[in-house]
């Protein structure tokens, strides 16, 4: 059996165990509900077209506007229908729109004539959307890398704490153990995001938000490779952090620096999203690039070559952290007496081949 086969076995076990883990399942369902609610609810809450009472003579323009028209005999009957709550509004001679306490925009619009509108910069993104989309990206990256990173660390600590690690190390290369965990974490994270994305997509289709969707497409395309490398970068740090302690209770002590390296870029991107020079810097720094660069692509600020350069930088950083994380992991894995310092772990590579 080679390292690759061992890696596959380790990854398969991690995934199998995770898919049975109640916390993981509940959090996944929660995210799915969130995605569904976020995309479907606005359409539902907006409600259908208003129902309007009107005499046959004035009904035509309202019908043409797609409103729910109820034909009544005269204006008095129309007003009475509004009072009784049978309809949202009535249109009486004038024309005057009657409603109880809220002007029905769609009825008013149907009866108004509108000037022609010509947009000079039709590609510009709605400022609300311009904020929400990067926030959603940053949030997904933050929550996922944090959540799955912690789980990688926990799984490593569990093996140290129960000492099964000695049996594992005697059977398979240490690198296969680490690789299996990282592969499993990445697959689970991507799987969860894909599932959430699928639900969000279905929700947008249901809520008829396909305009936003076509706008998002290129940014999402770039988000995937950035996310993948960014995730590996952070997962390598979590793996090293996990290997340094022996008990789940002690994870807090080593996880703080890792959490900060995820949290600070997250907030930087959130707060500086409309600060162009700051975003340019953030989009190249490996820790913030996974969220900052897709955002700049989304708002159209980045030139075509920029994501490529940022991706290469991120790749280099991820590779470096992976090697360093693997070294710390190997050095600390079999030290089961108390907490190991990074320096000790770095210097001691115990196992033979």
């Amino acid at each position: 059996m080679n390292t690759l086969q061992a890696t596959r076995l380790v990854a398969a076990r991690e995934i199998r165990v995770k898919l049975r883990d109640r916390t993981f399942l509940i959090s996944t369902v929660f995210f799915l509900l969130l995605a569904a609610a976020g995309t479907i609810l606005p359409a539902v809450l907006a409600g259908g077209p208003s129902s309007v009472a009107v005499t046959e003579r004035a009904a035509e323009p309202l019908r043409a506007a797609g409103l729910e028209v109820r034909v009544v005999a005269d204006d008095r009957a129309a007003e009475q229908a509004v009072h009784d709550g049978d309809v949202d509004a009535a249109v009486v001679t004038g024309p005057t729109v009657l409603a109880m306490d809220d002007a029905p925009d769609d009825v008013v619009t149907a009866l108004s004539s509108r000037p022609e509108v010509r947009l000079l910069n039709p590609d510009a993104v709605d400022p609300a959307v311009a904020f929400l989309v990067p926030f959603a990206f940053a949030f997904i990256f933050f929550v996922t890398s944090q959540g799955f990173g912690v789980q990688i660390a926990q799984s490593i600590i569990e093996e140290k704490q129960t000492r099964i690690v000695e049996i594992l190390v005697a059977a398979v290369p240490v690198r296969a153990l680490l690789a299996g965990k990282l592969v499993a974490g990445t697959l689970l994270a991507l799987g969860q995001i894909a599932l959430v994305a699928l639900v969000a997509l279905a929700g947008m289709t249901f809520g008829d938000d396909s305009g936003l969707l076509s706008l998002l497409a290129p940014a999402i395309g770039w988000f995937v490779p950035f996310f993948l490398l960014g995730f590996v970068l952070i997962a390598a740090m979590w793996a090293a952090a996990g290997a340094l302690v022996n008990r789940l209770e002690d994870i807090g002590g080593v996880s703080m620096p890792v959490q900060l390296t995820v949290m600070l870029p997250f907030f930087a991107v959130i707060f500086l999203h409309d600060n162009t020079p700051a975003m340019r810097v953030l989009s190249y720094l490996p820790f913030s690039a996974p969220t900052a660069m897709p955002l700049r692509l989304f708002t159209g600020d980045a030139a075509a070559w920029e994501p490529v350069v940022a991706l290469v930088l991120l790749l280099a950083a991820a590779a470096g952290f992976l090697l360093a994380g693997a070294r710390v992991y190997e050095g600390a894995l079999l030290r089961t007496n108390g907490r190991t310092s990074i320096r000790t772990a770095w210097r001691s590579r115990e196992t033979v081949a």
């Binding site: 059996m1 076990r13 000492r163 099964i164 000695e166 049996i167 005697a170 079999l334 196992t351 033979v352």
Partner: protein, 300 residues
Amino acid sequence: MVAVTDVLRLDGVDRSFGDRPALRNVSFDVAAGRMTGFVGGNGAGKTTTMRIILGVLAADAGRVTWQGAPLTAEARRRFGYMPEERGLYPKMSVREQVTYLGQLHGMTAAAARRATDALLERVGLAERGDDLLETLSLGNQQRAQIAAALVHEPEVLVLDEPFSGLDPLAVDTVVGVLRERAAAGVPVLFSSHQLDVVERLCDDLVIISDGVIRAAGDREELRRTYTSPRFEVVVETDAGWLRDQPGVTLVDLDGARAVFDLAPDTDEQPVLHAALARGPVRAFRPVRPSLTEIFREVAQ
């Protein structure tokens, strides 16, 4: 058939932790088909030695060979190992994790499942096989641990304190399983600080103290080499006079009862005559020194 070369051999193994030497020039053989007991006090170096055999620790010097060739990771994968500090995955069922460990040792999924079922049956865990490990009693977890070490039908077995924490019934089960493996030609090395268990079980004995091998070889041979002939005598009155007999070293004196060692090449009959000359002798018999005595003798 077991080839003569089926020997696990440690040859001049050194290991230090920082400035503290843990093992010094450790050499011994674990022969195929034999149960080799590995005894020594706490911190003597038993666990370190076993970890080096399994490649979990690296040796500073010396080498470990199996069938005449230096150990590789590939060869070690066919070893069975039970670490001193026990542990399996608490949230996985016994069957699933033993199967998983079989696969990690290179078995196909189907072969690992078959071996797991047979083994769980053998150690009396068949009915608990689908329970999560953490729901099992400590004794049953220990049985699962044995199954985990044996699932891939290892060529060599290295077990660190396999009997600690086992109830007498489980000890019998484990002893039975290990004997089967030894009888099938597998070298079995097991450590224990329960000398009575080792005494009952081992064919060969390796004694370590302060990281140095003090004695290694056939158990009975060691007994002959490291202990003097010992006798127990029971007379009517105080047996203190034995002290002055030539060649006698008193080991224990309790009024009329005494245990003594004889210097090599000294005959016990003159001592018996001397006792009879002083009055009636109620008992006079040779005493087989226990492993504890050997251990005390060589670990000094």
